[in-house]
Amino acid sequence: MRLSGKTALVTGAASERSIGWGIARALAAEGADVVVNDVAQAEALAARAEQVRAMGRRSAAVVADVTQPEQVARMFHEAVGALGRVDIVVNNAGIIRWEHFLEITPVELRAVVNVNIMGTVHVCQAAARQMIAQGGGGRIILTSSVQSDMQFPITPVYGATKKAAHTLVGVMALELAQYGITVNHIGPGWVQSALNDPSPELQTEDGIAAQRQAVPLRRAGEIDEMGRAVVYFASADGDYTTGAFLRVDGGLGISKYSS
């Protein structure tokens, strides 16, 4: 096991069909103790923590809104209280809205920017401060998207926030390297997660077939596959990797058409 004795915090992990849970489960499978977070769904979140404990790891469930700095501070306080320290922080919480450019409204734009940008800023600042206070070292990993490379017109605000992860991860990697902290991000493509359920492209069998056809590997990604990519960055295997982006998308990001 590659993460024995390590402790982790994963945001956005309440749903059993979330990438966050796939990440938490993969970290626990490699031996890490894992605190799970989400903004609501306290009961589901508690169930995820129980599943982690059933794997023989320590866990805790912390409900907190990542858009609120004081709640993020409390989340880290509770995570450190439960596990003693935090070696790995996975900033995974994110939201998506489907609208074309001309349909963007301030309310929806700000909702996406608040979680995907400001939530990331608050969590990563708190993570880095905690890691520095622990004496340095640590792993910060973001869940971004294939849209970090190529944005889709039906999700322009979401795509903008995900492309921005390249810059934000890069700057954090540059500035936090002196503390031994690495910062990287993974780029899921089509994952059959709760987040993607409302996608207009996935409401019919034809739509799902077209989606499958767009992916060179001809299938959706599994949440655990996202988790195992995070494990690479979190483990000693990723010691020399910082500021990197790893698409885990079955090739979606390199295909204009796939047939």
Binding site: M118, P153, P156, T161, L168, L174, G243
Partner: protein, 248 residues
């Protein structure tokens, strides 16, 4: 290329951060025959033919403001928030200002102007002025860079959605200019920065004006969704130092 009168009679709305660069862009557009509309500022001199009121953070008010003028043919927005600071020191206030100036306001204004262009049925040109921080990460420029990257991504998707209306959307990424911020640094830092520019010298606002004139002209009708860097090659390589601002 003879650009004289390439934009004869084109109505250009210039918005965002008004500085030497944007004023020179206006001058280049006027030299090519265009009319310039902009919010009032003493920096414009006599370039502006029509003063415009723009309440940039409120789409409804913006739509009303734009009703007061004939629809523009060309929209140029300079996303101008560029404060320096380390990521760990950045405050929610910094981020709010950067997000507003570099992303949210440009999105709402271009959306409102695009609607006017679509109504007028004559196509149009939307051009954002961004910075090198939005293309690659630089220490101490995380807040500016992240928000500029958001705008460049949005511009690409705008280009997709507005292409059917004959509206092109492009970004001009501006490198170090011989005006403005470069002059704020000491001689050693200026030299370090200049050594990182393959062209060996800073650009001029006129270089930016020429790029904007091309993208605004009929010659660029099939160019959309690009990010044109006007930086003397700055982003292609790096100098020996750690930061953009070695030596502060």
């Amino acid at each position: 290329m003879n650009t004289h009168e390439a934009l004869l009679g084109r109505r250009c709305l210039l918005a965002g951060t008004i500085d030497t660069t944007l004023v020179e862009v206006g001058a280049a557009l006027v030299a090519a025959g265009a009319e310039v509309m902009a919010a009032e500022s003493p920096l414009w001199g006599d370039l502006v033919t029509e003063a415009v009121r723009l309440e940039a953070d409120d789409p409804a008010a913006l739509a009303t403001d734009l009703r007061a003028i004939e629809p523009p043919d060309v929209l140029v927005i300079q996303a101008g928030w560029r404060e320096r600071g380390r990521f760990l020191d950045s405050t929610p206030q910094d981020w709010a200002a950067a997000l507003t100036q570099n992303f949210e306001a440009p999105v709402y204004l271009s959306q409102a102007v695009a609607r006017r262009m679509i109504e007028a049925g004559k196509g149009g040109r939307i051009i954002f002025l961004s910075g090198v921080e939005g293309v690659m990460p630089f220490e101490e420029m995380g807040t500016a860079g992240t928000t500029l990257t958001m705008l460049t991504a949005m511009a690409r998707m705008m280009a997709v959605d507005l292409a059917r209306y004959g509206i092109t959307v492009n970004v001009v990424t501006v490198g170090w200019m011989d005006s403005g911020r470069l002059a704020n640094f000491g001689a050693a830092t200026q030299q370090h920065i200049l050594e990182g520019i393959p062209a060996g010298q800073a650009g001029t606002p006129a270089d930016v004006g020429a790029a904007v004139c091309f993208l605004a002209s009929a010659a660029a009708g099939y160019v959309t969704g690009v990010n044109m860097t006007v930086d003397g090659g700055y982003l292609l390589t790096r100098a020996g130092g750690r930061t953009m601002f070695e030596g502060g």
